[in-house]
Symmetry: C2
Subunit: 158 residues, 2 copies
């Protein structure tokens, strides 16, 4: 293989570690890697990370306002409309107009949505296992999860 002054330079030889923004860049790369694994696992199911997140929230918190779900997931309400549209078209979730405030759409998971969540549970589990394994175990995964939360939960108050 041809190489001259660059010799056999591998990624690990390149000094990226000393930049402060390394953390931001590592966040970006880690998120890309995890989403890539998720998308490969669910490509056949046509399920995106956001779809799954919404279904999970609706499963645990039925009847939330559309804007509440959006905010809980850090998605702007304008961008959330298409996501709910998609889930409704697939029959996995549904909007119901609130009786007490006709502006509000309350969101619910459907029976099909529940069955779907049950069906994909093994795939979700395998995905999570792969991620945890890369980190060195479930304790490391939970530690990471806690640290990540600190990075944005404090900003919610501002």
């Amino acid at each position: 293989m041809g190489h001259d002054q660059t010799l056999e330079r591998r990624d690990s030889d390149i000094d990226v570690s000393t930049m402060s923004e390394a953390l931001g860049f590592r966040l970006r790369r880690a998120q890309l890697a995890v989403y890539q694994d998720f998308n490969e696992a669910f490509s056949a199911k046509g399920l995106r990370p956001a779809d799954f997140a919404v279904l999970t929230v609706l499963n645990k918190n039925p009847g939330l306002k559309q804007s509440e779900v959006a905010e809980a997931l850090g998605i702007q309400r304008a961008n959330f409309v298409a996501i709910v549209d998609g889930l409704e078209q697939k029959g996995l979730a549904e909007r119901r107009k609130s009786d007490t405030d006709r502006r509000v759409q309350s969101l619910f998971i459907t029976e099909d949505g529940l069955a779907y969540l049950k069906e994909i549970r093994p795939i979700v589990q395998e995905h999570d296992d792969r991620i945890s394994e890369r980190l060195g175990g479930r304790e490391a995964r939970n530690l990471l999860s806690d640290l990540l939360l600190k990075l944005y939960e404090s900003r919610d108050e501002e």
Copy 2:
């Protein structure tokens, strides 16, 4: 404030924690929050995270092939062209055609680029301090950085 059956529901009351994909979603939200802080700090400077990352790599590793820098940062070479174009137009970095392999563009930071890095150092430091503070200290920051690396470095080999 008007609320009916939803009462005074706050974000923290919504159960998002039990979904396995929470990790992926937390990664996404954390990355968004860190980038937002970076962009607010550098909006006046017109510097994006990727620009800063490239300058830092060139500073520590002068003469790398363009594709090597791209790969080190997890950016596809097609998308990397515009980034280098921008840095070159600002006079912060430059391409030099390799003598030994005329296909190769070797990348270097310029004198102006070095001065620029020095100039923005305090802003970078403050940004990093804010992030570290959210995490609870520099040790936590380094711990997080190590965990993030594990999420994507293993994938590089595949």
